[in-house]
């Protein structure tokens, strides 16, 4: 089956979280992504846990592997004159150059947009720094959790009477930023194909993250309301929450959107009928007592069996899956083929996410495991740049390919 982005050539300077994930999306869809690395300043995910067999090594991180499927890795030292020349030659053949350094780093390396557009006038150049290429805080640094703090996610998630809990992960790195960036890049590539015009895309990772809180930003700008944490409650729905089940740390999420779902929930749980809970207004007003009553019923039930019984009765319910559950036990993810096992030259077989969408007439499952550091250096030098073995050996010896 065809791949949708076949033929798009990407020279990829991204590393760590959101950047690598952006180019993974493109690579899994068929773009030819060459990850430019150097062993002198490594992608820190290469040395981040978990490691295969718990043995630390630059080619053993599962975190790195999952974010770098379907890519090729070339080690080039761009601080070396000949290394810089090589990279520029690669860019002369490319459609897209990506990076998520702080602003100024690409310029310092001699690879800023103003230089590169001389080499390749229709180039799309995508920059994904934390706070953008302009403004007084453009040089500030951070990770997804820092972006989560700046943008309100940390403040807004958790219980109102306790310290902010946040999303528990570097959420902006995994979903808001890579998807927005990939969308903007594809739009720019479409424009380039139609008009021959390239451009520079400036993505401040705080901004796509904030874009997901638009309605609550407006709740402040329009209504003057500063939203606070609200646990698992919902302003228009009760019951709506997470309830304990049988076993250690087992939970089920339940939401009853209307009276019919409430009635089905009540019957499935054998919960006595109470007049004050017969309307949504009544349930919202008495939310805490309602939650306690439901928890008393659910704590004696198996989460999976209860989820199935509630869904059979037409109630939105789902057990809280942990990492083992999503990989080993969830029947839907298994049926969808969400997990793919790929064979890596050093790690052997391990588990990767497939992209969370399927096409009727195109392939999107990762085409290869993550690359070893510099796995494709010789191949790219020879096949793309047309260098012979002697030249490659000389470049390696002088330190341009480290």
């Amino acid at each position: 089956m065809k791949r949708l982005l076949k033929g798009i050539k990407v020279i990829d300077f991204t590393w760590i979280g959101a950047g690598s994930y952006t180019t993974k999306l493109l690579a899994d869809l068929g773009a030819d992504v060459i990850k430019i690395e150097t062993s002198t300043r490594m992608d820190s995910l290469r040395v981040a846990r978990p490691f295969k067999d718990r043995i630390r090594g630059v080619n053993r991180s599962g975190y790195f592997a999952d974010r770098n499927t379907s890519k090729k890795s070339v080690t080039v030292n761009v601080k070396h004159e000949e290394g810089l020349k090589l990279v520029k030659k690669l860019i002369a053949h490319a459609d897209l150059v990506t990076n998520n350094f702080t602003p100024g780093v690409m310029e310092k390396l001699g690879l800023g947009y103003d230089v590169l557009k001389q080499i390749k006038p229709d180039l799309v150049f995508a920059s994904m720094s934390m706070q953008g290429m302009t403004g007084p805080e453009r040089n500030y640094l951070g990770y997804g959790l820092i972006i989560g703090a700046l943008t309100g996610f940390q403040h807004l998630t958790g219980l109102p009477q306790r310290e902010p809990a946040g999303t528990g992960t570097n959420y902006p790195d995994h979903i808001p930023n890579p998807t927005h960036a990939a969308f903007a890049i594809l739009a720019a590539l479409r424009h380039k194909r139609r008009t021959g015009e390239g451009q520079c895309i400036d993505i401040a990772q705080t901004e796509p993250t904030l874009a997901l809180l638009g309605p609550w930003i407006m709740n402040y700008t329009v209504n003057g309301v500063i939203d606070n944490r609200r646990g698992n409650s919902h302003p228009q729905m009760a019951p709506h929450g997470v309830y304990p089940c049988l076993g250690e740390d087992r939970w089920i999420a339940i939401a009853a959107a209307d009276d019919a779902q409430w009635s089905a929930l009540r019957q499935t749980l054998d919960l006595a009928e109470e007049a004050r809970w017969s309307s949504m207004e009544g349930r919202l007003a008495d939310r805490d007592a309602l939650d306690r009553a439901i928890a008393e019923c659910t704590r004696h039930r198996d989460a999976k069996a209860l989820m199935e019984a509630l869904q059979a009765a037409g109630v939105a319910a789902g057990m809280v899956n942990d990492a083992r559950d999503v990989l080993r036990h969830d029947a839907q993810l298994a049926a969808r083929g969400h997990w793919v096992e790929l064979d890596h030259p050093e790690m052997g077989k391990s588990i990767y996410n497939a992209p969370p969408f399927r096409f009727s007439d195109a392939a999107s499952t990762p085409s290869s495991a993550a690359p070893l550091l510099g796995q494709h250096t010789r191949e790219i030098c020879s096949e793309v740049l047309g260098l012979n073995d002697a030249e490659i050996d000389r470049l390696a010896a002088c330190g341009a390919l480290t």
């Binding site: 700008t221 209504n223 729905m237």
Partner: protein, 431 residues
Amino acid sequence: MSETIATHDAGLTSAAPTERPPLEGIRVLDLSGALGNYCGKLFADLGADVILVEPIDGATSRCMEPKIAGRSDSEASLHFQYNNTNKRSIVMDLGRPEGAELFRLLARDAHLMIETERPGVMEARGLGYETLREVAPQLVMTSITPFGQNGPYAQWKAEDIVGMALGGMMSLAGYFDSPPMAAFGYQAFAAANLFGAVASMAAVYEAEASGAGQHVDVAMQECVVMGMENAVQFFDLEGSIRKRNAGQQREAGSGVFQCKDGYIYLMAGGVGENRFWGNTVQWLIDEGVDGVEALKDERWLNRDYLSTEEAKETFKRIFSGFALRCTKLDLYLHGQERRIPIAPIADTADILQNRQLQARGFFAHVSAQSVDGAVGAQSWVMPGAPYRLGATPWSLRRPAPRLGEHTDEILAELEVDEARRKALREQGIVR
């Protein structure tokens, strides 16, 4: 309040008219609710002609909180207003054969449709992909649903919180001693919208060249799984199950710390290598913080030591003594000047005052709609461009449409004459 908030239009609404938006010429039919409206907005804000195809009672997202204080009409939802900018609205009853026929007419010139119905509903209306492909071979049909088009849960119901639970992200969020917590603001819906937008854009990109559209199947549950960070790899490679850990440091120097006027988030060492630890310790030394000598020895460069309770307690005792004397903004500015990953834990009021966002002109204005639908002099402030495309800017051209605002205009474009439009309206097929 909007007049008191400093914003800056340059680069947002002032796109020179000669600049062509990057998605100019793409037509999108957005039949969705909360699972797909933001996906449609991404297309609309980059210049696609996005038509919101609403049922007679309006899109379900018109009822979602938060709402404009004191209003409950069909234009009152701020959720709807934000997620439907730059779109036009046509109201039609797709459950009736005449409505479905009109829709097939619309689809003939469309590049993309986004729908979020339970699997099987579109087929029952005569609007399944196989039928639409016959009249519109170029069309990409994107179906965004809780669990996807097939599999044992395909017909199951899900709200955002159920997607968060079954997608596993929730198992990582919340306090170590509390139930798991859903991320604020319908992030399971957001994930489905976002991955749906990437898949749709890739399919449209290819279809414009090949002439062949296709059906795109997006499952919210799988989209949420993408947010599990490294948890599944930890289980696969090390056999350990990552747990939620809010309310305590993730490791010494990483987590929420109280300060004089709120909280800050600090990642003293960074991720992977402990790159920034030295900067943090030097800062505390320069500030003359009590007990800082305890943070200087070699042990602190070892991540295993940072994970011990002893290390966490020592760091917290020393750092908190300093942080409680400072404001979140001071800690942010001074820490960042020393290249330390630190940030204030901001609420929405803080965000509107963020000098970086203001300098970049991030916030956009859109004309507010009053109850009677008149576009008044008042304007609303909302998040603006999530990305700056140098040559083809993002722009807000119009607010979200009133229910059925463009029904007549769009039918006229389809060359449905006035008499027929009147008849369709009288029969309740359009509104």
